[in-house]
Symmetry: C2
Subunit: 192 residues, 2 copies
Amino acid sequence: MSARRSRITPEREAELHEAVLDLLREVGYEALTMDAVAARTKSSKATLYRQWGSKPELVAKALRCTQPVSLGEIDTGTLRGDFARMVAHSDDAQMAKDTALMRGLAHAVHESPELHRALRDLLVDPEINGLQAMLRRAVARGEVRPDCPALDFVPHMLIGAFIALPLIEDRSVDREFLTQFIDAVVFPALGV
Amino acid sequence: MSARRSRITPEREAELHEAVLDLLREVGYEALTMDAVAARTKSSKATLYRQWGSKPELVAKALRCTQPVSLGEIDTGTLRGDFARMVAHSDDAQMAKDTALMRGLAHAVHESPELHRALRDLLVDPEINGLQAMLRRAVARGEVRPDCPALDFVPHMLIGAFIALPLIEDRSVDREFLTQFIDAVVFPALGV
């Protein structure tokens, strides 16, 4: 922790992130301003810029805080255990809220390369890295063959399922669906 | 063919659909009007409404015409052959254009339940039905076990891959990716 970052408590940070997500749901990304965040959270714009850098970064970091656990933190000793832990940490109500939020952001991402980059750097890439570390450990333990071609496609399977389910069946992913999809598709593809 | 439908030639219909797609790319779904389509195609609005019913149906039918082949038409005698035919009919340049177009429509779909319904009825459901018929034949031939749990998730895998790849790797699906994904994920999950 640098001195710069320590000026704000974790509680205050969580409060600010929640306010940003509320504003995002209310007005959308385009209409969200740093002025509105400052007013809503009774903080100065200088503090916001010092702590978060920019609006895209603020939004990406606020979204990261909705994640119950980072995949990089999960290490149970088996791949089945790691996936079960991932599902156990998921929250059905939160996933439904996230689906609505991400749907609203999908449009903004294509309009704003800065938002695209911030979401990728702060949200997507760290999780994909965590997932790949999980898979490398499974290969090292002999659970998955090192030349298994599905190893390259696990992010596509998981992220694809999250986006495809609302389109195909008009519902958000929940723990039951995640468990069924992982058992029916991800493990067989990996030969687990 | 009913008398009503025969008033327009297939060539003229294709011309109209191409004009609708051009307008969609230029102005987006919200700003697209039946007046603009009528002006662009030098046809009367009465003809447009008689032939297509409504703006959402016109857009869905125009999009359907960009598909090189309907999955329901493919029946080579083996599941591997059916998927190979599906990939062979895909056109890399067309898939890239479709990705951009669908990205623009994703926002409109959530604003317009009528567009959502038209895309589902005219575009998504017929392809999912064609895919399911393909899988049922594979089960009947003994290529896939009837209780294989992945049978329920083939649309999620394929549609998910189409949407997840641009997000994860910043590129559109092409025939090479489709082939790799089907070989690495879909066939192993189905036990083929």
